[in-house]
């Protein structure tokens, strides 16, 4: 009933009596502004605290120095170079994960028996910390692009497998019957029903896989690498160049956020009919 609905969504005791009519810019963008405020406050406090607390540059850094260090890396081209070095195996491993993962996943979802056969295996793999195999991979394949790409592949393939399988299994049988009854062929089924149904799941899988792939990059580079952004962090740490170390860490954080949130945004924009995750 519409009336009861209004009650359920009625403002709390405080705001009903609070007859403020501020429906302007401030009210509408309140959450974003609060967020920005909090971030600004954080950095300001970080900078300011050293007016009171002694600053030891071997132990920590502050926003102003970090920014300078970051600019330095940017201008000298070091940042770009390190990122590029890390990006290559990332791309290889991730793309391989998409291709292999989605294929296997769709197969598992489509052919019930394949699903039965592979499900336990996949669950076991997903539950094991495959990261633990990283040292082995590096020892065997070396620290070049191949080794890194393999680690990244191993870590990021499973979200695709599971999500693709789930996507296929979730295809509404009713829709299939509708298309069939209207005289659709197998190809029509794929293009008009299955692909649109499964795509959101795959993109959601991509969002999860990105995080894991990034872990793969870092693990490989921390363990035994001589270049790349992860190696840069470790190296700056060894050199006690805290400002540049923080700069690299924050860069990776920014990239991670952009990639993950970007995927989320893409999901919402491309698949507005999907309410849940």
């Amino acid at each position: 009933m519409a009336q009861v609905d209004t009650i359920a969504r009625a403002p709390d005791l405080e705001s009903a009596a609070d007859a403020t009519n501020r429906e302007g810019f401030l009210a509408r963008n309140r959450n974003v502004l609060l967020g920005l405020f909090a971030v600004g406050l954080f950095f300001a406090a970080w900078e300011a605290i050293f007016l009171v607390v002694p600053f030891n540059h071997l132990f920590i850094s502050k926003p102003s120095l970090i920014a300078l260090g970051w600019l330095d890396l940017l201008v000298s081209g070091d940042l770009a170079r390190d990122l590029a070095v890390s990006a290559v195996p990332f791309a290889y491993g991730f793309v391989a994960a998409v291709v292999v993962g989605v294929t296997v996943g769709i197969l598992m979802g489509w052919r019930v028996r394949v699903g039965y056969a592979l499900d336990p295996l996949m669950i076991m793999f997903y539950a094991s910390p495959l990261v633990a195999l990283a040292p082995l991979v590096v020892v065997f394949f070396g620290v070049g692009v191949t080794g890194k790409a393999i680690i990244i592949f191993l870590l990021s393939v499973f979200p695709f497998v599971f999500n693709a399988a789930a996507g296929v299994r979730a295809v509404d049988r009713l829709l299939i019957n509708v298309v069939r009854s209207l005289g659709g062929s197998e190809k029509d089924l794929y293009l008009k029903v299955i692909v649109p149904s499964v795509l959101p799941y795959i993109v959601a899988g991509a969002r999860i896989a990105i995080g894991r792939a990034l872990i793969g990059v870092l693990v490989a580079e921390f363990f035994a690498a001589s270049e790349g952004i992860g190696y840069a962090i470790a190296r700056f740490g060894d050199l006690f160049a805290l400002d540049k170390m923080f700069a690299c860490i924050i860069t990776i954080m920014a990239i991670a956020v952009v990639l993950t949130e970007g995927m989320r945004w893409a999901e919402r924009a491309a698949f507005p009919w999907r309410i849940g995750q």
């Binding site: 009336q3 009861v4 209004t6 009625a10 403002p11 005791l13 009903a16 009519n21 509408r28």
Partner: protein, 256 residues
């Protein structure tokens, strides 16, 4: 002389974010006598449920006076209890535990609570179901739990917000008979909101028709049918005349 429950010039406007303000109640007056059964009928969105919530103390009106027994209403209290349309049972608690909710919040000890809840569970006809969970019950049974829960704190006023709307027609009729039986045993003041004119006439001493939004009282019909009410009364001429009258009054509010 002040009525038992008295409302004068109650106004309430909802201001949802990013949307037009909604005037729910406007100059709403009401007088309710102690121990009477009053039904409110009105078109959808007229504010009748809102008024119940204001009376319950969950929402503060923008202006106007609202008193019970002379005292202004300042939030929920144990003198009032509500039975909700969608039952509102805590799904993770058993029937018994749900009925004891109000008593628990009052700080009553578990043995004392058990005594009261057992009596009420028997009274609403759910003996044997004390340890069941809400999802195991039918709609009618869930509403009985809701009723038992509302009666547990022994409130002076019972507020019922379309309590039978979510039930099928047959269960609904049965529940109406049940409600009267229970009410006869302990004459509380009842404020009953409904869409169904039959239901309103059958149950009440008086029926109030509200205007459409923003709502206020349009007309009040005294129901002179004898008590205890029998189901057969629903097919008498007197009943049907009342129904027609009330319908005529209500109709304009729905179409206009």
């Amino acid at each position: 002389m002040q009525a038992y429950i008295q409302g004068r010039n109650v106004n309430l406007t909802f201001r949802p974010p990013n949307r037009e303000p909604v005037r729910a109640l406007s100059g709403f007056d009401i007088d309710i006598r102690e121990g009477e059964f009053l039904s409110i009928v009105g078109p959808s969105g007229c504010g009748k449920s809102t008024f119940l919530n204001v009376l319950l103390g969950l929402i503060k009106p923008d202006s106007g006076e609202l008193t019970i027994h002379g005292k202004p209403i300042r939030g929920p209290g144990t003198d009032r209890a509500m039975v909700f349309q969608e039952f509102g049972l805590l799904p993770w608690r058993t029937v018994q535990s749900n009925v004891e909710l109000g008593l628990e919040l009052k700080g009553m000890a578990s043995a004392a609570r058990r005594e009261i809840s057992q009596r009420l569970i028997d009274m609403v006809g759910l003996a044997g179901f004390e340890q069941h969970y809400p999802h195991e019950l039918s709609g009618g049974m869930k509403q009985r739990v809701g009723l038992a829960r509302a009666l547990a704190t022994d409130p002076d006023v019972l507020l019922m917000d379309e309590p039978f709307a979510a039930l099928d027609a047959q269960t609904r009729d049965l529940m109406q008979i049940e409600l009267l039986r229970i009410w006869n045993a302990a004459r509380k003041t009842v404020l009953f909101v409904t869409h169904q004119i039959d239901e309103a006439i059958y149950l009440s001493d008086r029926v109030m028709v509200m205007t459409k939004r923003p709502g206020h009282a349009k007309k009040i019909f005294p129901i002179d049918l004898p008590r205890p009410r029998a189901y057969e009364m629903r097919v008498t001429p007197a009943f049907n005349e009342l129904k027609l009258e009330i319908w005529q009054t209500l109709k304009d509010e729905i179409t206009a």
